[in-house]
C-alpha cells in the first residue's frame, strides 16, 4: 500500500515534468521548422578571402538595406574560398589571386575582380614608429627564411642609419591558413629574391621554415600587436584599423615607398585591364612613380549557368553601382568603370545576369 502510494505520487509528479519537457521541445521544434519554411528572404553564402572581408561585409550590409539581398560572408581564407566553391557548398568564393583558365573551365566557374587592395608589411619593435623602418624585398625574404635573426643585423641597420635598433629576436609571423594575402606576399618575395623563388616559391600556403602562424589577417594583426619583435604582412585596412606600425619598402626603381592611399592608387592605375584574360592582372612590384610594390586584385568565383549565381551577381552589380564610397572609406581602390562594363558582359556571357534588372 505504502509503496504504491509513493510510486503513484512520484509518477504523477514526474509525469507532469516529463510531459512538460516533451511539450516544450516539440513546440520549439515545430516553431523552428515552421518559421524556417516561412523564411523566403533571398540569402547567399560566400566564403573566402579575409583580405576582402571588411569590404564584402560592409557591402552586404548596404545591399541588404537597399535591394534586400542577404549576404552571409565568412572570411575563412582564399584557400577555403576556392575549395568550397569548387565543391559548391557556398554561393560564391572569394580569392585574392586569379585562378587559371583550365581550373575555371574544368569546374564551370566564372571569375571577376571586385576591388584592388594593398598589403602592408608591419612590425612591432619598441621605439619604432609608423613608417620609420625601411626594408627591402631581399631582407624580408632573408628574415622569413631565417637568415636574419636579430633586428640589429648589419643588413637592416645599413639602410636604417637614422633609427636605433636593439638586439631583439625577430619573430616572423605568417598566415597559417591558405591565404591569397600569402600568395601575393610570397609572389613579391619570389620577384625580389632569387633564393626565395628557388626554395619556397609562392602559393596560398607554403612550407615556411620558421615563424609563428596566425589564422586570417586579423589573427596576424593581433599577433604582431602582442608579440615583441614580430614582423608580419596584413591587408592595408587591417594595418590602419589596428594602428600597426608599417614599414617603407624599396620599389624597383630604388626609392623607398610608404603605403598610403596615394601610393596604392598609383599602383592600381597601372593595371592593364584591356589586354588581360579573365581579368588576370599582375600588380606586384610594378614600375611606377610612388607605387606601392605589394598590391593585388581580389576576385570572386561563381558557378556559371546557376540560379544561385544570379543573386550573387545582383549583389555585386549593386556593389559596383553604389559601393565605391564604401570601398574608399575602407582603403580599397574600386575598379574603373570600363572594367565594370567588361564584367557585366562576362556575366551575360555566363548566363548569370538576373532577369528583373
Amino acid at each position: 500500500m505504502h509503496i504504491e502510494s509513493v510510486s503513484r505520487m512520484v509518477v504523477g509528479h514526474i509525469g507532469k515534468q516529463v510531459l512538460f519537457v516533451i511539450a516544450l521541445s516539440s513546440v520549439i521544434a515545430i516553431g523552428v521548422s515552421e518559421i524556417s519554411c516561412a523564411q523566403k528572404v533571398k540569402s547567399i553564402t560566400g566564403v573566402g578571402s579575409t583580405f576582402a572581408g571588411p569590404l564584402y561585409q560592409n557591402w552586404a550590409e548596404g545591399a541588404e538595406k537597399e535591394i534586400g539581398v542577404q549576404v552571409n560572408y565568412q572570411p575563412l581564407g582564399s584557400g577555403a574560398g576556392r575549395n568550397q566553391i569548387i565543391s559548391k557548398t557556398v554561393s560564391f568564393g572569394a580569392l585574392d589571386v586569379p585562378t587559371s583558365v583550365e581550373k575555371l573551365t574544368k569546374n564551370n566557374l566564372v571569375q571577376f575582380p571586385t576591388a584592388i587592395g594593398g598589403i602592408a608589411v608591419v612590425v612591432n619593435i619598441p621605439n619604432i614608429k609608423h613608417h620609420m623602418l625601411r626594408l627591402t624585398g631581399p631582407i624580408i625574404a632573408d628574415i622569413y627564411s631565417g637568415k636574419i635573426k636579430k633586428w640589429n643585423d648589419p643588413k637592416i641597420t645599413e639602410i636604417n642609419k637614422d633609427v636605433v635598433l636593439e638586439d631583439l629576436d625577430i619573430a616572423p609571423i605568417y598566415r597559417a591558413d591558405g591565404s591569397g594575402t600569402t600568395q601575393v606576399f610570397t609572389s613579391y618575395l619570389v620577384k625580389e629574391s632569387h633564393n626565395w623563388a628557388e626554395t619556397y616559391g609562392s602559393n596560398t600556403s607554403i612550407a615556411w621554415p620558421l615563424g609563428i602562424g596566425g589564422r586570417g589577417n586579423g589573427s596576424v594583426a593581433s599577433m604582431v600587436k602582442n608579440i615583441k619583435g614580430s614582423i608580419g604582412y596584413v591587408e592595408f585596412a587591417y594595418a590602419l584599423q589596428n594602428h600597426l606600425c608599417m614599414v617603407q619598402l624599396k620599389d624597383s626603381a630604388g626609392e623607398y615607398i610608404t603605403l598610403t592611399e596615394d601610393s596604392l592608387r598609383a599602383a592600381a592605375k597601372t593595371a592593364d585591364w584591356v589586354h588581360s584574360k579573365n581579368f588576370n592582372v599582375d600588380l606586384i612590384n610594378i614600375v611606377g612613380e610612388n607605387a606601392w610594390p605589394i598590391v593585388s586584385t581580389t576576385y570572386v568565383l561563381v558557378p556559371a549557368y546557376n540560379q544561385n549565381s544570379k543573386g550573387v551577381v545582383k549583389f555585386f552589380r549593386w556593389a559596383f553601382d553604389k559601393g565605391d564610397g564604401i570601398a574608399y572609406t575602407l582603403h580599397y581602390v574600386p575598379l574603373p568603370i570600363f572594367v565594370k562594363e567588361k564584367i557585366e558582359k562576362t556575366w551575360e556571357y555566363a548566363g548569370i545576369t538576373p532577369n528583373n534588372s
Partner: protein, 292 residues
C-alpha cells in the same frame, strides 16, 4: 594533529627531517591548490573586467555587424540556444534510452561493451566528432544548424546515458517489484516508476551534458559554419557564441575582441550556472533520498 616537535627535535635529527618533509609537502600542496584557485579566479576576473562592460541592451538586440561597425550578439546567442536546444531534444530521449538499456536490460556482454565504449566516447576528441558529422551530414545536406546540433548531441548522448544508468541502478528493486505486482509491463515499470524515482540523477546528467556542449566549439566549426546574419532556418548555416569567440578573439580589432570577451562571459556564466545548479540539485536529491 599535534606533535610536540621540540621534544622530538632534541631527541634526533631524523624526526626533524620527517617534520621537514611533511611541512614541505604540505606547503607544496597548499601552493598547488592556490594555483588552481588562482587560475579560476583569474579567468573569471578577466572575463568580468573585459566582458562585463559589453553587456548592454544594444548587444542583446543587434545582430553581428561587419568589421569596423558596431554590432551586437543577438544572432549568436539565439543560434547557440537553438542548436543546444535541438541537440538536447535529440540527445535526451536517445541518451536516457541508452541508459535504460544499460541498466535495465540484462545482456551482460553487450551491456559491458556498450558501457565501455560510451565511457570512451565521453572522452573522445570533440573535433573528431565534428569530422564524423561533416562526413555523414554536411557532405549531403550542406553546412547547417541541424548538423551542428547532431554533433553536439553525439557528445551529449554518452554522458546522459552513463549518468542515467547510474541513477537507475540505485533505484531499489522493491519499487520495481511493487510495480510488477500491480501487473504493469516492464516498459511501464521502467518509464513510470524507475525513471521518476531516478529523476535526480537523470536531471543532473542532462544538465551536465548541456553545460558541456554549450561551450563546445570544435565540432561546430565543420558543421554549422557560422552566419553573420540572422537566420531561423535550421537547414542553413547558423551562428553560435563559441564560433563568434573563435572568430573574434583572433582579430586585432579592439571592438571585436570586446565582443568576444562579452560572448565568452555569457557562455561561461551559462555553463557554470548550469553546472552549479546540477550539483546543488544532485545534493538535494541525495539528501531527500536519505529521508525516504
Amino acid at each position: 594533529m599535534v606533535v610536540n616537535t621540540n621534544l622530538y627535535m632534541q631527541q634526533n635529527r631524523r624526526v626533524l627531517w620527517r617534520f621537514f618533509k611533511n611541512s614541505f609537502v604540505r606547503i607544496f600542496s597548499y601552493i598547488t591548490t592556490f594555483i588552481m584557485v588562482w587560475v579560476l579566479c583569474s579567468i573569471l576576473v578577466t572575463l568580468m573586467i573585459n566582458g562585463f562592460p559589453g553587456i548592454t541592451f544594444f548587444m542583446f538586440t543587434h545582430v553581428t555587424a561587419s568589421q569596423s561597425k558596431v554590432g551586437g550578439l543577438l544572432n549568436p546567442i539565439l543560434g547557440s540556444i537553438i542548436q543546444v536546444g535541438l541537440a538536447a531534444c535529440i540527445s535526451i530521449p536517445v541518451g536516457i534510452s541508452a541508459g535504460i538499456f544499460l541498466a535495465e536490460f540484462n545482456y551482460k556482454k553487450i551491456n559491458a561493451i556498450v558501457r565501455f565504449f560510451s565511457d570512451i566516447l565521453i572522452s573522445v576528441p570533440s573535433i573528431l566528432v565534428g569530422l564524423l558529422v561533416y562526413l555523414i551530414l554536411v557532405v549531403s545536406i550542406g553546412y547547417s544548424a541541424i548538423a551542428g546540433a547532431c554533433s553536439l548531441a553525439i557528445l551529449a548522448i554518452p554522458i546522459i546515458a552513463r549518468t542515467s544508468e547510474e541513477a537507475l541502478a540505485i533505484v531499489p528493486f522493491s519499487i520495481r517489484e511493487a510495480g510488477f505486482a500491480l501487473g504493469a509491463p516492464k516498459w511501464k515499470v521502467i518509464l513510470w516508476i524507475c525513471l521518476p524515482a531516478a529523476r535526480g540523477g537523470v536531471m543532473t546528467g542532462i544538465l551536465l551534458a548541456i553545460s558541456r556542449i554549450a561551450g563546445e566549439t570544435a565540432p561546430l566549426l565543420f558543421t554549422s559554419l557560422g552566419n553573420s546574419n540572422w537566420s531561423w532556418n535550421i537547414f542553413k548555416p547558423m551562428s553560435s557564441l563559441p564560433l563568434i569567440i573563435y572568430q573574434y578573439a583572433d582579430s586585432a580589432d579592439d571592438a571585436l575582441i570586446k565582443l568576444a570577451w562579452t560572448a565568452a562571459l555569457l557562455v561561461t556564466i551559462f555553463v557554470l550556472c548550469l553546472n552549479l545548479i546540477a550539483r546543488v540539485y544532485m545534493k538535494r536529491c541525495q539528501r531527500k533520498g536519505r529521508h525516504i
